[in-house]
Symmetry: C2
Subunit: 320 residues, 2 copies
């Protein structure tokens, strides 16, 4: 079946102008078209932690394994170039599972015009593990980092937040074209993607930038899924709390000067909403701005999606 | 512990002139010094398949997870540049295990002067999985591919073969400087590294090149470990058979014209042995050349090291 699977994969992996050598040799070779730095990011998804294989479609798992990496490249405002996929497959129906995973990966790779450069396909007695490394290239403006926010900056977000567990954590669109457009047309100070929860990730951005962040809670764009989840669970957690703390929204947080933010919000250059939700402040930490203008501390909360259950993981990603 | 671990890691990850941005943002950024193509390869190692964590040192596992990737870069005669490491750690003593794994990785990374660019560190209830992606850069001569061998080429190998299971599969030196030296000084037609067994991998090289390979069995450099293993097991498998079929030697197979091979063997430009073991032939397949010059078929045999046990894996690496 090895030959069968590799043949199956080869017929489905299209060529790419920047891929000099793809599947079949000891390594793949890329010749990026531009002069920018090479951006690299990796995420590993495990059955029982990041998805429940028994309760979802393998094509969705494959798609997600690439999508989370594309979201990291979007966070850096870099152009995605290629991906490399390593999997540990449970032995039962390994080939069928591999085909489904790769179908999801290949469809998203085609959508974002990136090369599938190679990988490592294994079987074992354990649960499914899929590890994707994505490569991209910086634009002429260089990377958008998370440590460049300045006190006084406006905080903008793409899209809406909360309740991704109802389905959007599989179907989200990595904000790559959005990030490229905004980074090209506006002077952004800092950016990151929201993988672990809006308040937790904004707190990380503020920490990396050596300042704080103050939110106008009334301005947070709450997803209809957050409303639906709050209603379904009926456990006292409000839609806004879901929007602040749920993981896997994969929207962007951006900071930029107030004047640049005004210009951007006037232009509304994207087909998706862009919302100002607060501003960076000198005082480190996360804050909420009351209607009177008073700042009170806000606890950063998020979903440590690397380890569900009663004993959350105490290890997280080095590149998150 | 997350912050503890990342802090521990940060203090131990040195800077690198080609690493613009390392651990801590959404992705890492490399600015390769040369103009050559970017080479990328990935290998995933799993407890119970590629190592037995209970019976070995975690530092050795970490070292091996990077070393197998460096061997793939050596096979392409490319200069290693950076690696990115994703792990799924069993929850018990996860932090200690992570530190040991990274100690092995960092020591080898320092030895080969490559950047540790980032990664993704997770815990779960399953066995240890470690997936490393390595990036390199082609030299001015471009990559050394496995599909360039020509009938009549001499077949050369570095080092010795067989019995790596006795320890060398952890301690081997990826043949990076050797490959770079040979690729720079001689016109090589094809190359690959031996991960699954000399006869199996040579057969793959011949197949990729659209020709065959004929071995002089008397010339195969048999490792003392192969002799030791044959004696220990006393199961009728000869040291030569171990040399032909054992996996994880991580030596190089190279093909080049006979005249270039003569020059190379006269020069002996490396501190390790280089041995001519046969020649490429027009007739596809693997052959053994008898003392009379007659070619008889030789069955390619190897160790499908991705899945040990009674039901060997029917899936192997896309980039092997």
């Amino acid at each position: 079946m090895e030959a069968d699977f590799i043949n199956w994969l080869r017929t489905r992996v299209p060529g790419h102008p920047e891929l000099m050598l793809g599947i079949g040799d000891d390594a793949a070779i890329l010749q990026p078209a531009g002069p920018g730095g090479i951006v690299v990011t990796s995420d590993m998804l495990m059955d029982g932690i990041d998805f429940e294989l028994a309760a979802c479609r393998a094509t969705d798992v494959g798609r997600k394994s690439l999508a989370v990496n594309l979201s990291d490249l979007a966070a850096m405002a870099c152009r995605p170039l290629a991906c490399i996929v390593s999997v540990a497959l449970p032995r039962t129906n390994a080939a069928e599972l591999a085909r489904e995973l790769y179908s999801g990966i290949l469809a998203l790779a085609a959508e974002y015009d990136i090369a599938l450069a190679g990988g490592d396909t294994n079987t074992w007695d354990g649960p499914l593990v899929i590890s994707v490394t994505a490569l991209g290239q910086c634009s002429e403006r260089g990377p958008l980092r998370r440590d460049g926010a300045q006190p006084g900056d406006a905080i903008l977000v793409t899209g809406q937040f909360g309740g991704s567990i109802l389905g959007r954590h599989f179907t989200f669109s990595p904000r790559v074209p959005e990030a490229l457009t905004l980074h090209a047309r506006y002077t952004l100070h800092a950016g990151m993607d929201v993988s672990d929860g809006l308040s937790l990730d904004l707190h990380r951005l503020a920490e990396a930038s050596g300042c704080g962040a103050a939110l106008n809670l009334d301005a947070i764009p709450v997803s209809p899924s957050a409303v639906q989840l709050a209603a379904q669970r009926n456990d006292g957690v409000t839609p806004l709390e879901h929007a602040l703390a749920d993981g896997e929204d994969f929207e962007l947080i951006l900071t930029l000067s107030q004047s640049e933010a005004e210009r951007l919000l006037r232009d509304q250059p994207l087909p998706i909403p862009l919302t100002r939700i607060g501003q960076m402040v000198a005082e480190p930490g996360l804050w909420q701005r009351n209607p009177t203008g008073l700042l009170t501390p806000l606890r950063p909360r998020g979903y440590v999606h690397r380890a569900e259950g009663p004993a959350p993981s105490d290890l997280d990603q080095a590149n998150s």
